[in-house]
């Protein structure tokens, strides 16, 4: 064994080396002893035996000694390793301190990338990965009606509301459901407390919402009793800890106190605990019982949403399939209301975040790209530096440092760089997360769960390590592999082998490609956003201020009181200086729903029951059309003469006129009541189609009724001003307070904000992705600049020779530029192919732009090529300024 090893000059393995050593030591002892015994007169063979006898058990003793030696080896090796690491760390820190410019560029790049990645991840984590703050949140589901098979006008046919009878059937007949609770939004005005009327945010809930479904008990008092949801029961409320502190100074004797909500007395029976975070759809302040006695007639009126808790072990899929079975039975039993409908059961968290999820994943992906580009940049910096440190490394190798040691030393430097960047990055992540939460569009779900905590720091740590490894490994392997003899022969000036130049080029090409993918993504979103902004809304929200009113039924019980209030309100507002017109509507465009209703055209064949055409109906005061510049394309607008006593009139939109009146609606009549008790209304005008349901939505049927002929207690009043609408806010508030101090203004905002709010998600995503793309572009350009400059500096001699041989500056310039643009072109082509392959991922975010939009791809490619040109121009010009005599003399 050992002979063969010697024969082949194999390095002896450590264990075998130890055995040899012990053998030799013991053999020496035995031979010496035998020799001595021989000298004393023993014959050789007896002497050998006697020596062994005196020694004892040779095999056992060698084993013991070997074990002792091995143990010593191990301790020494570990000590060496710790020593090495400590030395590498010290050396790394010295190296980093030696080249402050290189180090700060690298550290800053890494810090920004890690900071941005961590910040975005903390948002993704808070919204999508962290479980909801309820017991067993995976058992919670949201229940919707599915109307996708029905030809009706509804905003989201997969997520439509339920009627009471359908809810009850779902609750009682789907076996997977343990508890279910229906709810309805409620924004009552709280009066009779210090500090004036307050508009609250809450809901009506059917029994069991808190303890059974969400699994939260009130901290004070109790939840609703089953009998409290009967219509004749005493009105009681449960309030939030926040409202308790805000409005009632955390009064410990609050229970059984009566408060006035919308001028109706409610007795407080419970206060929720401070850590209860109601799902956004339940509001934040106050909850009362859904007092409702369902009858079969109400199966078609959909005004409820519902949450359910499934049985332990039941999946949403199981609940969905049982609900689908139920829907088939209901369709059969109640075809009028339930024909072509179904249930949709979605996990609660999925339901709450699904709108946001595409955007968030896209952003996380984008920031990951930025991180990769940053890594490539730092790797390229390290490669260039590794080349200039070739001499140092060659000397170390020549002096006996193994590849492993060199690799370890270089990796230590990278990881230290990354760690410094990571620490800085965490600081950036704190700021960034804060900023993201503040800038996030209103209504972004679960934003309150977003926080930088241990989870996130762990993520940042992992990213930092991965980053260090990622940008460090290539340069380190490359440097450790450098042939020391070659470098030293060249005088230690350069270690720039053809291989490392190729590697740097490949990295730059990759970087350009990654940046191009991001730019394409951002470009598509920008184009989409432009399209969204260019959409003709059909009305003009500029210089319009809108206020929301909810009259308490108790004090404004009838049509007359309501008409009088709003008449007086409009009259007073119209006299304010700066106001040019005033008008009101039951639901502002782009801002939520009023209600849909069936309609019947006079003289048309009666549609089958359950399949009547539906329409979103709004009530307006005469000034509304003028106030928001909504054009009446034919016929007339409403006037003050269209009052409760006058002929019933109606205005329809262009879509409805085209689809139901063959383009000629004025003078025709239609009915929006039931056909048992029709009220025929004469179409007096046709209004332009406007974007009622959102900028992306198709135009749908719409109708306008004169408010005076169907007054409600709920209205938005819009004021068109000749001055900045913001400046009129206080005046409007003052007028309202003077008219009725107990009316809380729900919302008072410039109407432009409705438009910008409805674009908020798009704006947020577009600007973030745009920002990332610009950073990526910048990093790629810097990377390209670095590689081109470096390459020019290593080719000075060649340039000098060319110039000496008479090459004009333009040739030299062209040479450098052609090479640089070649790299960029490679990156652009690869990036474009990559972008085409993955741009489908943003399709859900796009509006009227194809994910493979040729214009966008072309513009982005041109932008990238231009940036590449600019970045390589400086080194190209420097190349032409090479002084051939100096360069050649220096050799």
């Amino acid at each position: 064994m050992s002979r063969r090893r010697r024969l082949f000059r194999l390095p002896p393995p450590r264990d075998a080396a130890i055995r040899d050593e012990v053998d030799e030591e013991i053999r020496f002892h035995l031979e010496q002893r035998a020799a001595r015994l021989e000298r004393e007169g023993m014959n050789p063979s007896d002497a050998r035996d006697e020596a062994e006898r005196r020694f004892g058990d040779v095999a056992r003793i060698s084993d013991d000694v070997e074990e002792l030696m091995r143990r010593r080896e191990r301790t020494m090796r570990n000590a060496d390793r710790i020593d090495d690491t400590r030395r590498d760390l010290a050396f790394a820190i010295r190296q980093i301190a030696y080249s402050p410019v290189f180090s700060s560029v690298a550290v800053l790049t890494i810090a920004l990338a890690i900071g941005a990645t961590t910040a975005i991840f903390s948002v993704v984590d808070g919204i999508m990965l962290r479980p909801l703050p309820y017991d067993e949140p995976e058992e919670l589901v949201m229940v919707w009606m599915d109307y996708t098979r029905r030809d009706v006008v509804l905003p989201d046919k997969r997520r439509e509301w339920l009627s009471w009878p359908n809810f009850v059937d779902f609750r009682d007949q789907v076996d997977a459901v343990q508890h279910a609770s229906a709810f309805q939004g409620w924004n009552p005005t709280l009066t009779g407390i210090d500090g004036g009327a307050q508009r609250l945010n809450g809901g009506f809930v059917s029994r069991g919402m808190f303890s059974d479904v969400l699994g939260v008990e009130p901290a004070l008092g109790r939840e609703f009793l089953p009998e409290e949801d009967r219509p004749d029961a005493e009105p009681v409320v449960v309030i939030s800890d926040g409202l308790w502190r805000r409005a009632f100074a955390a009064d410990p004797d609050i229970l059984d106190r009566t408060i006035r909500l919308n001028d109706v007395p409610f007795r407080i029976i419970g206060v929720m605990p401070p850590d209860f975070r109601p799902p956004a759809f339940l509001g934040t302040d106050v909850w009362a019982t859904l007092q409702f006695e369902g009858s079969e007639q109400s199966r078609g009126s959909i005004f409820l949403r519902a949450v359910a808790r499934l049985h332990d072990g039941a999946t949403p899929e199981l609940a969905q399939s049982q609900a689908t079975q139920l829907a088939l039975r209901l369709e059969e039993a109640y075809p009028e209301a339930n024909i072509d409908t179904g249930f949709n059961v979605y996990p609660l968290q999925f339901d709450m975040v699904q709108q946001a999820s595409t955007a968030l994943w896209v952003l996380l992906g984008a920031v990951g790209f930025v991180l990769m580009i940053a890594c490539v940049n730092v790797a390229n910096l390290l490669l260039a530096r590794g080349a200039s440190r070739g001499g140092e490394l060659a000397v170390r190798t020549a002096l006996g440092a193994g590849h492993g040691r060199i690799l370890a030393q270089l990796m230590t430097e990278s990881v230290v760089l990354a760690a410094i960047g990571g620490l800085l990055g965490v600081a950036i992540a704190f700021l960034g997360t804060d900023l993201l939460v503040r800038l996030a569009p209103a209504g972004t779900p679960l934003l309150d769960q977003v926080a930088v905590d241990g989870r996130i720091l762990g993520f940042a740590g992992l990213v930092t390590l991965a980053t260090g490894a990622l940008f460090g490994i290539l340069p380190a392997v490359r440097a450790a592999r450098t042939d020391p003899a070659g470098v030293l022969r060249e005088g230690g000036r350069s270690g720039a082998t053809a291989g490392s130049a190729r590697l740097r080029n490949a990295l730059v090409v990759g970087q350009v490609a990654l940046a191009l993918v991001l730019l394409v993504g951002a470009g598509l979103l920008v184009r989409s956003f432009q399209n969204l902004q260019a959409v003709d809304l059909g009305f003009d929200p500029d210089d319009v201020l809108a206020a929301q009113f909810q009259l308490p039924n108790a004090r404004y019980p009838d049509a007359a009181a309501r008409t009088t209030f709003f008449g007086e309100l409009e009259r007073r507002l119209a006299t304010l200086p700066g106001v040019t017109s005033v008008g009101s509507i039951t639901a502002l465009p782009l801002a939520g729903a009023d209600g849909d209703t069936n309609f019947y055209v006079e003289g048309a064949p009666l549609p089958e029951r359950g399949l009547e055409p539906s329409v979103w109906l709004r009530r307006v005061t005469p000034g509304y059309f003028e106030t928001v510049d909504l054009e009446i394309v034919s016929g007339r607008a409403f006037t003050a003469a269209d009052d409760a006593e006058a002929t019933r009139v109606i205005i329809v939109n262009e879509t409805l006129e085209r689809d139901y009146f063959d383009g000629q609606a004025v003078g025709k009549r239609l009915n929006v009541n039931s056909m048992e008790n029709p009220v025929w209304r004469e179409v007096v005008g046709v209004a332009r189609d406007i974007k009622n349901f959102g900028i992306r939505a198709e135009s749908r049927n719409a109708m306008y009724l004169p408010f005076a002929q169907a007054p409600t207690g709920f209205l938005f009043t819009a004021v068109e001003t000749s001055v900045e609408p913001q400046s009129m806010m206080n005046a409007v508030r003052a007028e309202v307070a003077e008219l009725d101090p107990d009316i809380a203004l729900g919302q008072l905002q410039p109407m432009e904000e409705l438009v910008s709010t409805s674009l908020a998600v798009d704006r947020f995503t577009t600007s973030l992705l745009g920002g990332f793309a610009l950073v990526a572009l910048l990093l790629a350009v810097v990377g390209l600049y670095g590689v081109v400059s470096y390459s020019v500096s290593t080719r000075l001699r060649e340039m000098g020779v060319r110039i000496a041989l008479g090459a004009p500056g333009s040739d030299i310039r062209r040479l450098v530029l052609r090479w640089a643009l070649g790299l960029a072109a490679g990156g652009i082509v690869i990036g474009a192919v990559g972008a085409a392959a993955i741009s489908r991922l943003v399709e859900g975010l796009l509006f009227e732009v194809a994910p493979t939009d040729v214009t966008t791809f072309a513009l982005v490619a041109v932008l990238m090529a231009g940036a590449a040109l600019v970045s390589s121009l400086v080194p190209a010009i420097r190349a032409t300024r090479v002084d051939p005599i100096r360069v050649l003399k220096a050799e």
Binding site: E21, E24, E25, I26, F28, H29, E31, Q32, R33, R54, F55, G56, D57, V58, I61, D64, V65, L68, M69, R71, R72, T75
Partner: protein, 113 residues
């Protein structure tokens, strides 16, 4: 068998260290020295010397190095480290106190001193 049962634990270590106070020795040299100075009465099995030597090496009391023996053979030589010297001095002193005390006790002829 092993060591002489009368050999107190740790005595062999002290003898090894003592044998190295004048010069580095190889294992065989140490065993010869011990044999000479103790009239062969202590070390019954010469082999036990080696685990003891290596244990001392692991504790940093001795260092080893390959060298050439008197008759030009490769042999591993052991040398006292400063730590080993200090240890030997301390242990030798306490050994002397101990044996003195035992000797005095055994030399008593009356029950009271």
């Amino acid at each position: 068998m092993g060591q002489n049962p009368n050999l107190v634990r740790g005595t062999l270590d002290l003898l090894i260290l003592k044998s190295l106070t004048w010069e580095p020795r190889h294992g065989y040299g140490i065993s010869e020295w011990i044999e000479q100075v103790t009239d062969g009465s202590l070390l019954m099995e010469e082999g036990t010397l080696y685990p003891a030597l290596h244990r001392l090496r692991g504790k940093g009391m001795v260092e080893s190095e390959w060298g050439l023996s008197e008759n030009n053979r490769r042999a591993k030589y052991y040398r006292l480290t400063p730590q080993g010297t200090r240890y030997l001095e301390a242990e030798a002193a306490s050994w002397a106190r101990y044996t003195d005390a035992v000797a005095r006790a055994l030399a008593m002829e009356t029950p009271e001193p």
